[in-house]
Structure formats: structure tokens, C-alpha cells
């Protein structure tokens, strides 16, 4: 009797666990399958025209703006994030007060929702600094948003470099700076890169932080001070206008492909990293 009861509980718990996993993966398949079914039939050549107008609803300007905004954000955030990580991993002493505050604020930054970044970017970059709705204001806002991600992955990558590398370099007479820049940093590049690619993923998916900073102009920006919309913002605009829903799904397919590529790239780099260590 006792044994049977035990057996039932085993089967029950097992069933619940398998069921939950099936639900998660079922939802993913439903989501991806659904976007593909609704979007792929609408992938027409006119969607890829160089210039946007309300007839062709081209996504190419949005795609180019996405790339431009991503590059500008990375140019700002990656050096800052990597330098900050070098300080935290190589220079800061144990029990340093500043380090505790830096870690706390970095955690805070990573928890702030994108709409709050959007509000701040609108108040600070757009109005206070007078940049207007522009690529630069949008990218500056996003660079603060991805800073904690870049810092964390860079710090972890630096910390995973074996101490023997540093000792070897010191032993050959190199100074601290030379050791960090020539020996430690190059060995940490794959880890940093994996984090940077994840940051690109966040930029590509971002909408709320961009609407009131980069604006929603659907053309290729001629200068960093002009407004532009990324693919995600483009999709949201299509949905809220309600006229081009089919093109919205087609855009979703392109966005999905970009996200899959980004994930695969990041996983591949992380895997190579794992094999090496």
C-alpha cells in the first residue's frame, strides 16, 4: 500500500515536470510558427525597396537605422563598459567602498525598465542637451541601458583569465598597464564579445526607450542628428496605425531571423570559450 502510494507520487511529479517543459517549448513553437505562417507569405520584394513610402511600407530604412543605432550605442558603451570592468577586475582593492557603490548602481541600471530610460533620454538628451529626436539621442539612451550588460560580461571574462598569465607577464618585467592591455584583455576578448552580441540583441528588440528619443521617422537618417526608427519601432508603428498589419508580420519574420542569428553567434562564441578553458 505504502509502496503504491509512493509510486503514484513519483509518476505524478514526473508528469507535472514533463508537462511544464512541454508547455514552455510548445509556447515557443507556437510563437515562432505563428509569426512565420502569418509573415512569410507577405515577404514581397517591395518590402525591401530602398526608400519607404506608404505604398511599399519598406523595412530597409528601418533595418539600416537599426544597424546605425546599434553601432553608435556600442561605440559609446563598449569602451566605457570594458574600462569599468578593467577597473573592477584588475585595479580595485578588496573592500573598496567605491566598488560597492559601483556594483549597486550597476545592478540598479540593469533593473530599470526601458520606458524609464525612454523618459530620461527624452528629458536629458532630447530636451536638456537640445539634441532633438535623433539617432544620437536614441543611441546615447540605449548605451546607458546596455552598459551593465557589457560591464558584467567583460568583468567575468577578465576574471576568468588565469593568474599565471599575469604572473608570467610581471615576471618578464611588464608593468601593470602593459600586462592588462597586452596580456589579460586579449585573452578576455571572446567573453567580452559574447556579452556585446547579447547587448546587440537588446538594442534590436528595444522599442519603449526609442520612441521618445530617436523618434519614429521612417527614412534613412542623413546625419546622427536626424530622427530614425529601428525595426522594432517600425513594427510598433505599423501595428498602432493598423493599416499594414500584414507587412508588420513580415517585418516580424525579418526581426526573428536577426534575433536567431544573434543568439546563434553568441552561443557559438561562448561554446568556443568553454572548450578552451
Amino acid at each position: 500500500m505504502m509502496r503504491r502510494k509512493r509510486k503514484t507520487s513519483e509518476i505524478l511529479l514526473g508528469a507535472v515536470t514533463w508537462f511544464a517543459a512541454a508547455v514552455t517549448i510548445g509556447l515557443l513553437l507556437l510563437l515562432v510558427g505563428f509569426i512565420l505562417v502569418r509573415g512569410v507569405p507577405h515577404l514581397k520584394p517591395s518590402l525591401f525597396a530602398l526608400h519607404y513610402n506608404s505604398d511599399n511600407v519598406s523595412l530597409v530604412p528601418a533595418l539600416i537605422s537599426t544597424i546605425v543605432i546599434a553601432i553608435v550605442s556600442l561605440v559609446i558603451a563598449v569602451p566605457l563598459g570594458v574600462f569599468a570592468a578593467i577597473y573592477l577586475a584588475e585595479y580595485a582593492r578588496r573592500g573598496n567602498r567605491a566598488v560597492a557603490v559601483i556594483r549597486m548602481t550597476t545592478e540598479t541600471l540593469s533593473g530599470i525598465p526601458s520606458i524609464v530610460y525612454g523618459l530620461f533620454g527624452g528629458l536629458f538628451f532630447v530636451v536638456f542637451l537640445g539634441w532633438g529626436y535623433s539617432v544620437l539621442a536614441g543611441a546615447a539612451t540605449l548605451s546607458i541601458m546596455i552598459l551593465p550588460l557589457v560591464m558584467r560580461s567583460a568583468e567575468e571574462a577578465l576574471k576568468s583569465v588565469p593568474d599565471t598569465y599575469r604572473e608570467g607577464s610581471f615576471g618578464l618585467g611588464a608593468g601593470k598597464l602593459r600586462t592588462v592591455l597586452r596580456i589579460v584583455l586579449p585573452s578576455a576578448v571572446p567573453g567580452i564579445l559574447a556579452g556585446v552580441i547579447l547587448a546587440v540583441g537588446r538594442i534590436v528588440g528595444e522599442t519603449a526607450a526609442l520612441i521618445y528619443t530617436a523618434g519614429t521617422v521612417a527614412q534613412i537618417p542623413g546625419s546622427p542628428m536626424q530622427s530614425a526608427r529601428t525595426l522594432s519601432v517600425h513594427m510598433y508603428s505599423l501595428s498602432s496605425e493598423g493599416l499594414h498589419t500584414d507587412e508588420g508580420y513580415a517585418t516580424a519574420v525579418v526581426l526573428l531571423v536577426v534575433v536567431v542569428l544573434i543568439n546563434a553567434l553568441s552561443a557559438r562564441i561562448a561554446k568556443r570559450l568553454g572548450r578552451r578553458s
Partner: protein, 282 residues
């Protein structure tokens, strides 16, 4: 001698550059708080803190205009609670599956799947919600809860899985040795041992859900009134900001920024409890 000095100077200089870069995150948090508070708090003063936070009516374009954000605060809390109720059980059980049950081959397929779920942009979730969930349950609290429940899955799964993996193997083996079956050992010994990590996963999920904007805007209906039923529309704080910021002016605009301040307060409280949890975990 000269070269030695130049080297020393360069060391000092770059050390300072690294330190200043590290201070940028402090600067950023300071500026965000400063600009939101400076632009939002005066509005709270003008409207009156109590009639702002506890006012049940939001009609910014009427005369006289009313700026009560209680409907949005309650809306955000309802939607978040619903998302947790849906997302946490599925997420934790999936994490148990990934960490303790899943065959290795299957894991290689499932893990990238969960990562993909995390990488899908919220607008895409919104499109999915409009076409699949809204036809079933309308533009409503329930639709928002379901969609957010799905969206927080990868956050909950990721953190819960690493918490479960951090439990020493001996716990599991000990339970087996005492005669418990595989699942019983996992659920009565390993899972409770990972509870502080799982709690952290839940708190992070709350943060994600309360801060989500675009997907919620697309499925929640966005009526600025006190929530009446699960199947009726609701407006969250995030939705309030993103919908009206485009055309708001003067006090209305400041009231929206003040909504952002309230949202930020919620997030700061969530962050504080998260770091308290992590400290206790150590």
C-alpha cells in the same frame, strides 16, 4: 630615467581613465533620478500627493483636469500578479526539468529554445498576443497576464535553473539513499534547498513584468479606469506614459513623468529586496 617617468605617468593616467569609466554607472543613476525627480515631483506637489497617488480618475484633457493614477498603479499590480501566477509555476517546473530530469540530447535543443524566448523582442510578443490571445480573452487584464506570464518565463527559468544546479549533489544522493524516488528527492530536498535562488528569480520576474511596456500596450485595452473584471481592459503605469507622452503638454506631461517616478520607486524597492535576498543567499 626619463622613460621610467613617462611610463609611470601613463600608468597613472590609464588607471584614472579606468576609474572614471567605472564611475559612469553611478553618474547615470544619479542623472536618471535627478531628471525624473526634478521634472516629476513638482507636478505631484501641484496636483497634491494624495490626489495624485490615490485619485481614482485620470482625465487629463477635461476641465478641470484630473490626474489620479491609482487605476494605473492597481492595474500594474494586477497584471504583474497574474503574470507571476502563470509564469512562475511553469518556469520553476521547467527549470527542474532542465536541471534534473532532461536527457542530455534534449537539453541541447531546449536550452537554445529558452534563450530564443528571451531574445524575442516585446513587439513581436505583442503581435502574437493581438492575433492569438486577444481573440480568446479580449483586450483585457487576463490577456496581459497570459502574455506577460509567457514573457517572464526565460527570466524565471534561467535563474531557477542555476539555483537548482548550485545545490550540492550529496543532497540528492542522500535523499535517494533514504529510499525516496528520483522526483521525490528532487521536489522534497533539492527544490527547497534552492529556495532563496528561486525567490530571487521570482523577484526579478516581478521587475520584468511591472516594467514591460509595448507588449502590454498592445493587448491590455488601456482604459484609464479602476479595473472591474479580469475580462475588461486595464491601463498600466508604463502604458500610461507611452500612450500619452507623444501629445501631452504642461501639467499633463509632468504628471506622466511623475508616473515614471512612481514606477521607478517600485523598481528601486524590487531591486533593494533582490540585493537583500542575494546577500542572505550568500
Amino acid at each position: 630615467m626619463n622613460r621610467l617617468n613617462a611610463n609611470k605617468l601613463r600608468e597613472r593616467l590609464m588607471g584614472a581613465v579606468f576609474f572614471i569609466s567605472a564611475l559612469v554607472s553611478i553618474l547615470a543613476v544619479g542623472l536618471i533620478c535627478l531628471f525624473l525627480f526634478a521634472n516629476g515631483l513638482p507636478a505631484m506637489g501641484k496636483i497634491g500627493v494624495f490626489s495624485f497617488l490615490l485619485g481614482r480618475e485620470w482625465s487629463p484633457t477635461d476641465t478641470p483636469a484630473r490626474f489620479g493614477i491609482l487605476p494605473m498603479i492597481v492595474g500594474s499590480l494586477y497584471v504583474t500578479a497574474g503574470a507571476i501566477l502563470i509564469g512562475v509555476p511553469i518556469g520553476v517546473l521547467t527549470a527542474v526539468f532542465l536541471a534534473r530530469v532532461c536527457p542530455r540530447r534534449l537539453y541541447k535543443l531546449l536550452k537554445p529554445g529558452v534563450d530564443l524566448l528571451a531574445g524575442i523582442p516585446s513587439v513581436v510578443y505583442g503581435f502574437f498576443g493581438i492575433a492569438v490571445i486577444v481573440p480568446l480573452s479580449g483586450s483585457s487584464i487576463l490577456s496581459a497576464c497570459i502574455l506577460l506570464g509567457i514573457m517572464i518565463l526565460p527570466t524565471v527559468i534561467g535563474l531557477a535553473e542555476s539555483a537548482l544546479r548550485a545545490v550540492p549533489e550529496q543532497y540528492y544522493e542522500g535523499a535517494l539513499a533514504l529510499g525516496a524516488g528520483h522526483y521525490r528527492s528532487v521536489f522534497t530536498v533539492v527544490l527547497p534547498a534552492a529556495k532563496s535562488g528561486i525567490l530571487a528569480a521570482v523577484v526579478l520576474g516581478i521587475g520584468r513584468a511591472i516594467g514591460e511596456t509595448m507588449a502590454v500596450v498592445m493587448v491590455a485595452g488601456n482604459q484609464a479606469r479602476m479595473p472591474v473584471s479580469l475580462l475588461k481592459g486595464v491601463r498600466t503605469m508604463t502604458a500610461n506614459i507611452v500612450i500619452e507622452m507623444g501629445y501631452a503638454g504642461d501639467l499633463h506631461r509632468e504628471a506622466l513623468i511623475a508616473t515614471g517616478v512612481v514606477l521607478l520607486m517600485f523598481i528601486l524597492i524590487i531591486n533593494l529586496s533582490l540585493s537583500a535576498l542575494n546577500r542572505r543567499g550568500k
